[in-house]
């Protein structure tokens, strides 16, 4: 079962570099309501076990993880992705800005080939690598 399996750690070049877990104290809570069911962007799997699949990004806070109960479930058998909150993508409707937060899990997150430390802004066309999966971020 995908959900019970432990996350497999992989070695990524530069893994010994210090990495900062994102501070999510200021982040709005992911409460799923009608208001937050608005699709604002998408993530397309361009490489890895789930190649060709697509996941919507909703308004508000989106949890990204391997388990099916994540808002953005990457549930296609890549066990190098953590079950819960490997990363968080948040859309702020007040300024139209997207940010990605590192969930502080075993395998680091990379954005455009750079290791994510803390959080950073996301722009249209950015590539996100989580475990063995590469995603392309596209605005709606």
């Amino acid at each position: 079962m995908n959900d019970r399996e432990r996350t497999r750690t992989i070695s990524i070049p530069g893994a010994e570099e210090p990495r900062r877990e994102a501070n999510m104290d200021g982040l709005a809570t992911q409460v799923i309501t009608d208001k937050s069911n608005l699709k604002v962007a998408s993530l397309k799997v361009v490489d890895g076990p789930g190649k060709g699949q697509e996941r919507p990004v909703f308004s508000g806070t989106n949890q990204v993880g391997r388990s099916a109960d994540n808002r953005i479930p990457l549930d296609f058998g890549d066990n190098t992705i953590s079950r819960q909150q490997h990363a968080v993508i948040a859309y702020d409707a007040s300024n139209g800005e997207f940010r990605i937060f590192d969930g502080g899990k075993q395998n680091p997150v990379q954005v455009n080939g750079e290791r994510l430390s803390g959080d950073r802004q996301l722009s249209d066309g950015d590539t996100i690598k989580i475990g063995l999966t590469t995603l392309r971020f596209a605005l709606m």
Binding site: D25, V31, Q63, V88
Partner: protein
Amino acid sequence: MGLWLVIGSLALTALALVGWFAARARREPVPIMPEAQPVTHHVTVRPDVAHATELRLDRSGVMNATVMPHPDDAPLALLEFDDASATVAVRSPENVIGRHTSVDIRIPDVRVSRQHATLCVGPGGAFEIRNLTADRSDPNPMRINGEHVEHARLRDGDEVDLGGVTFRFKQAAHGLRTGASRSERHP
């Protein structure tokens, strides 16, 4: 003459004795009713259950048990998380559960509100959980054993769901109820 001397010395001895007894009585008054001394029973409690300091029997026969949360090794309750396969020890009688780094019991999951619930020992001695987001326009739900509630008294084995994150509540102290202190009639 000799007889008078004997009588006189006897009288003096008697007076001295009376005086000595009187002085003694003044120093140590004879108790009318013996004062009840507090009896301290030291009990051994498993360190992982609770840290009982002492049981005291006062003069009216009321037993006071003081159960103190030990700072290092005596959790009052345990929260068992399935997802993270982690167990959190509850050591304080008053706790805030949430995602924020300043809370007592931190659940680093964005589905959990920054200050989501309070977990406090109620007047009955049992832990009570209260949803802090209940009054908000978008309340973040709390479920106990699958039922949507805002306030509940927790029993051993209850399953709590905060915004989708679940944990099982385990009461650590069985024989001695948790809390600052309690009194009960000694049999």
